[in-house]
Symmetry: C2
Subunit: 409 residues, 2 copies
């Protein structure tokens, strides 16, 4: 059997795992012909320092892009598509920012562009959304799509650690990089949220309209108080279709303890999907690591090589992205107030005047002369909440608004 | 756009939901041309009483079989494949007992045979196993694949109900049929276990070699004692590859409380997969109902119509099915013994002599003059356990061996 020739751009954790997986399984019918990496540390018998050697090799049918980042990955991927080669990539930033342009280039050149590995590592989620669930209308996709932050929040929840202790532990375990900014601040999850929304809704999502934030401001108190009222805190990537509008965001979120996403432990990932007529689904697995990610990349290669006719045909229509000021939501608010009578009455009045209705009030232990007051609102307009918060901050009895966290699902 | 014509055999819950889903979504590009059902209750403008009207209609490209059972479904499916039509079926019994023959007929006639709806209702699991995970070697598949029994066990666990109370509740809720034998006794799960094993391992699984049992013998005591030592009881469909041998079974099983499958509530289904290099995965969703099942059926139809080249190419190789007498496992044993000294010593000696090592001993509340004694073994040979049990039953101090349940995962 003649093997299909593959080229790999970028020989880091994922690229090298793809190479090993293909070598280990001759029955897959694949052969890595050339590898491009510019790092002087990389040594390999098939190595070239020039991407064009891979892109312009007439024997190579599929180019794997595992460089990461937009530049120069985008230039190489476009060149490969234009050279008539199908492309498989694990590059979430590239896809989040450029899917429409890249999918159009693939379609124009009658080749495939697949990127299962860009979301949820090895978890099959984009494949099911593109193929198995074609008969469904998807309304909501929620994901725990960043293993680093899920590990940190899980440690804080189960062992009462502070954020910085848990981050230190994550680095020791290899779950967080030396510079964990992209994970901790929500960039990584925001790319994945945008990709999930584009594929689930076949919609053109501007990544710049994805509101996102990280987990550094979550304190052990928040996790403890959330648990007391029946919630766990997760960094949630959310994509929702509301009528003709779409909202995509990444926020720390209070999730009810009995929701399937509440159980996702350590560095694991999960994506929860709601649609019609499918109802609810959840996909769970390892969201990172060379092995699982290589499974997704090589799985994508095999979809292309076993089925020559698979040309990317992902039409992303224009949509209205929801204006955050009009967004509704439930919110958890923790503030420091003096432990004396009359305080709650003043605070409640401000919420009532702003049309924000209160669902739960929980006054917790005293910190010096002050107490932690936790309020969970009913569904409220973000704009109304912002108005209430502006007034609260001017109220002398409110020493500090410590944290505001979304309550969801 | 010219619509692809579909025929439906069997207009029950699933067949009618497929018809509705196609009618509701003209953009899918499908049209139901003929429906066959012999029930006098079914009325429909497209109805025929003869399956051959559907099978031999030259306009119809895809035949949907939602009759259920082997006869006459098998005859109709074979006739449709031979007439050059692709077939999509939700019929687990048909596929479990005949997949090799039907897949060969599809391949010979260059058409597709797809059956995603036969396992886990709408949950995409066979699609991911056949496509997205093609680069992986799958070792283990565990499923909670019967919603009726999971609902009953969940009720028994959360509310302390007896089996018969919970079954009554399941019937009231519509989760159990009037005659729940196929669900309660494990037939339904055994079909799904066989299908999962065939697809995950590309192996010819004789359904008759699937050891299965139901949940009627599980008592509230077992659920309570299991919880006390950190387990929940689920009806588990298990397919494992051990070296060159494959074992497929369905048993009530003690699952560790922190395993992802332990959280699956009510009538929901989930399938847990372990492979290399993917690691662990879980797929969760609604395992039954017209809507979710129609999502899987129509998803399969679209795979065929959007991609004309998709010919079934599922080669099932011969495998050795593991002989149960050689199977290893951990076991929970509950017995009634007199509440006096020396009893445990006698019992322990019998286990030791049979080379069955004990992991947990838990003597529970007294029932008259007797006490419930719970023993959990370490990994042991089934044959050794059987020998120990035979001797235990002859021991005068063992009043009764109440239950033996597998401990797994």
């Amino acid at each position: 059997m003649k093997k299909v020739k593959i080229g790999i751009l970028g020989y880091g954790t994922v690229g090298s795992a793809v190479d090993r997986l293909i070598q280990k399984n001759p029955s897959l019918g694949l052969e890595v012909k050339k590898i491009c990496d510019i790092s002087p540390k990389v040594k390999h018998s098939k190595l070239t320092r020039r991407a064009s050697d891979v892109i312009n090799d007439p024997d190579i049918e599929v180019v794997v892009e595992t460089i990461g980042g937009v530049n120069p990955a985008k230039k190489f991927v476009l060149a490969a598509l234009r050279a008539g080669k199908s492309v498989v990539t694990s590059n979430k930033e590239l896809i989040a920012l450029n899917l429409k342009e890249l999918a159009a280039a693939a379609q124009k050149n009658k080749v495939a562009l697949l990127f299962e590995a860009a979301v949820g590592g090895g978890i099959p989620i984009l494949g099911p959304l593109m193929n198995d669930l074609s008969a469904d209308r998807i309304f909501e996709v929620y994901g725990i799509v960043n293993g680093t932050t899920n590990y940190i929040l899980h440690k804080m929840t189960k062992e009462g650690m502070s954020f910085s202790e848990a981050l230190k532990r994550a680095k020791e375990k290899g779950y967080a990089e030396a510079d964990p900014k992209k994970d901790i601040e929500g960039f990584d999850a925001s790319y994945k949220a945008a990709i999930l929304a584009m594929v689930a809704f076949r919609a053109e999502i501007g990544w710049k309209k994805v509101a996102f934030e990280g987990i550094a401001r979550i304190e052990p108190e928040d996790i403890r108080y959330a648990q007391e009222i029946g919630y766990v805190i997760k960094l949630l990537a959310a994509a929702q279709r509301r009528g003709e509008e779409i909202e995509v965001s990444v926020h720390p979120t209070l999730i009810p303890c009995d929701h399937p996403l509440a159980f996702i432990p350590g560095p694991m990932n999960a994506i929860y999907v709601k649609g019609e007529p499918i109802g609810e689904l959840m996909f769970y697995g390892q969201g990172a690591g060379g092995g699982p990610t290589a499974s997704a990349v090589v799985g994508d290669i095999l979809k292309i090589t076993k089925n020559k006719s698979q040309i990317t045909n992902l039409e992303l229509g224009p949509v209205k992205m929801k204006d955050t000021a009009h967004t509704y939501g439930q919110f958890y608010i923790r503030m420091l107030v003096p432990d004396k009578s009359g305080v709650l009455a003043k605070i409640s009045k401000i919420f009532a005047n702003a049309h924000v209705s209160i669902a739960v009030v929980n006054q917790r232990e005293t910190v010096g002369k002050n107490a932690n007051l936790v309020i969970v609102t009913h569904e409220a307009r973000q704009a109304d909440l912002d108005r209430a918060l502006a007034r609260l901050k001017k109220l002398p009895v409110v020493r500090k608004v410590c944290n505001i966290i979304r309550v969801g699902l």
